[in-house]
């Protein structure tokens, strides 16, 4: 059993919280490998096909085009930019700890800044041009759908689950997980960046910019109150570390599913932007993800109306 938190002694012999220990990183890497291997073994032992099964194209194809738009160009650019910055962040954070040393700090915070910008873009884009809440909100019906799907995976005797809308339950759960971990990493990452040299500010062991932003300046020109004391640093590092190792697990799982033969059509959709009609009818409920008259819609100026146009409003109970 490792030590999950890292403490150091100060000159008075007091133990001061520094962050998460390396053991937590090794645990995350171990769990990620275990998950991938376990899933592979389980999948084969259940007799599932490694390759995509023939699509069930029951249902009318009348009015449906051959290609159904799933991700508009702006959405795809966002996804791949975010993915690249996330990978750079994880590599620069953890690879030096594994022994391959290089000057990682500057690359890390620049990649973090790119991630922040892409997420700001994504939030605005989702709220203004897409059906933001269809991805974010999760109701009882969603959980029932997810459980039904999960039970069917575990036991073939379990009834066939309902087909999902545009974003299946597991995709949305993953999205929420990434949102929480990324936001935690970003908020704490910005606080940590205040302590290093960047072109934007002088480094400081404490957080005067935070204090000043919250409390303003007193007559001496100093922050009126200390909102975030230096002693909070350890906690900031712990949250950043936990978010980081969580992201290792989530990113490994994401890449694993993205390259699995039976899921690769999802990945291709993120590359090309569309799925074919057979996949649409086989894997989605047209009642929950309506493609209207089926016309492949070009991205209008400024974005991704196509994304919202093909997403039916979600009806919760």
């Amino acid at each position: 059993m490792g030590r999950w938190l890292d403490f150091e002694s100060n000159p008075w012999g007091q133990e001061v919280l520094q962050g998460v220990s390396l053991d937590l990183m090794y645990l995350a890497i171990g769990l990620a490998v275990l998950f991938v291997v376990g899933h592979l073994v389980w999948y084969r032992s259940r007799g599932f096909s490694e390759h995509e099964e023939a699509a069930d194209v029951q249902g009318s194809v009348a009015g449906l085009p051959e290609r159904i738009v799933r991700h508009t160009l702006p959405s795809r650019i966002f996804h791949w930019t975010m993915a690249a910055s996330m990978l750079v962040l994880l590599i620069t954070a953890f690879v030096p700890l594994l022994g391959l040393e290089f000057a990682w700090v500057t690359i890390h915070w620049i990649a973090g800044a790119v991630l922040i910008l892409t997420i700001i873009y994504h939030v605005i884009h989702s709220i203004v041009w897409q059906d933001f809440w269809s991805m974010m909100s999760m109701g009882a019906k969603d959980f029932r759908e997810g459980m039904s799907h999960f039970r069917h995976l575990l036991s073939s005797k379990s009834p066939e689950p309902e087909k999902p809308g545009k974003y299946p339950f597991d995709h949305r759960m993953y999205h929420q997980g990434i949102v929480v971990a990324s936001l935690a990493a970003i908020v704490t990452g910005v606080l940590m960046t205040l302590r290093i040299k960047t072109p934007f500010w002088e480094p400081n062991a404490h957080y005067p910019l935070v204090d000043q932003a919250v409390s303003g300046l007193n007559e001496l020109g100093d922050p009126a109150i200390t909102v975030l004391p230096g002693a909070a640093t350890g906690l900031v590092f712990v949250i950043h570390g936990i978010a980081g190792v969580s992201l290792i697990l989530m990113v490994v799982a994401h890449i694993y599913f993205a390259i699995r033969p039976d899921k690769r059509w999802f990945t291709w959709a993120m590359v090309r932007g569309w799925i074919d009609r057979e996949h649409y009818l086989a894997h989605f409920d047209p009642g929950k993800w309506s493609v209207g008259d089926g016309t492949i819609q070009e991205s209008p100026p400024g974005g991704a109306i196509a994304d919202s146009a093909v997403s039916a409003p979600r009806v919760d109970d």
Binding site: F102, A103, I196
Partner: protein, 332 residues
């Protein structure tokens, strides 16, 4: 309550007589082991009880690590060669006076009698926050206390920092970089040769170390190539006390010249960054140019481009600039 530090905490002492035995002991004790050269940096750590190794491996009995010999091309200096030997060595003085000058500027005669070249270049930084036991980045923590606006950072870095602002304390390090020395590092399974310039690493690469040496690695020899023998050299060190002190700023420069024209140059400053800084831009500026006052002044100005002083070490900018100016002017 005062902290009583009258005794060094106990450790197990090993005195190998061969490099192989030393490497085996280092491998056996891993991060709990401590390699002792002259002991002048090590015993400070032990007495202050900041470092408490379980095993100390004293290299003093390994003869193959001592002495200066003629190599195929230049000089081969054992890592355990004392600084006094280097200062007095005839060929060092005649062909590589830069190194002798730098070694002679280390501390006091007594310390130079005991201190070794390997120890001098591998010694740890003197940042007092770090050496006083603060859990700073370099000590494995998450804060640089010396970079805080209220910190006492008169001796700290003005360039090359990344979270940590401590400086390299070695006097011989910039001379070895200027001479394009090669560091022979032996591990249990392999040997590596590093250019002196690459031997010293900054906090951006590893914030807990000042050199490439990892636990299990042993610096065994420093080779000085013949390429820069008998070049025009310049060494100057500025310190608070002329008799005995670490540098505030130092410069070590080697020039190949044709009359007053600089054909090639290697100019290195130390005390301004966590590692000896080779001034590539200055070298490009002066190469192929006749040295005069104007060139020297321009070189001094370029030397500090990009520097970012802390609250109390702004003086290092003009000091560095002036030392580089004087180095270039020495050719004129």
């Amino acid at each position: 309550m005062a902290i009583i530090r009258d005794m060094i905490p106990a450790f197990e002492l090993f005195q190998p007589t061969t490099v192989e035995d030393a490497l085996a002991l280092m491998a056996e004790h891993g991060e709990g082991g401590w390699v002792l050269a002259g002991g002048l940096d090590s015993y400070d750590w032990f007495k202050d009880r900041i470092k408490r190794p379980e095993a100390v491996i004293d290299l003093g009995g390994i003869d193959e690590l001592k002495g200066i010999s003629d190599g195929q091309d230049g000089l081969e200096i054992g890592a355990m060669t004392t600084l006094t030997e280097i200062v007095r060595h005839e060929r060092v003085r005649s062909e590589y006076i830069l190194l002798a000058d730098a070694a002679e500027h280390v501390a006091t005669p007594q310390i130079r009698n005991q201190g070794t070249l390997g120890g001098n270049i591998s010694q740890d930084t003197r940042c007092w926050y770090y050496r006083s036991g603060w859990a700073c980045y370099r000590a494995g923590g998450n804060t640089c206390y010396a970079a805080a606006p209220q910190a006492m950072n008169r001796e700290h870095a003005i360039m090359g920092t990344s979270r940590c602002v401590a400086v390299s304390p070695s006097d011989t390090a910039p001379a070895l970089v200027a001479l394009d020395a090669k560091m022979i590092v032996r591990g249990r399974r392999s040997s590596n040769v590093y250019d002196a310039e690459d031997f010293f690493i900054g906090p951006a690469t590893d914030i807990t170390r000042m050199t490439v040496l990892e636990p299990g690695d042993l610096l065994t020899q420093i080779d000085i190539p013949g390429e820069w023998a008998n070049a025009h050299f310049y060494y100057e060190k500025v310190r608070d006390r002329g008799s005995w002190d670490f540098q505030l700023v130092s410069v070590a420069a080697a020039f190949k010249t044709s009359g007053n024209t600089i054909d090639e140059a290697r100019i290195v400053v130390n005390g301004v960054a966590p590692f000896p800084v080779r001034l590539d831009a200055v070298e490009r500026l002066v190469t192929g140019v006749t040295a005069d006052e104007a060139l020297a002044t321009e070189a001094g100005e370029i030397a500090i481009q990009g520097s970012r002083p802390l609250k109390y070490n702004e003086y290092k900018e003009p000091m560095t600039s002036n030392l580089v100016r004087r180095a270039v002017r020495s050719v004129a």
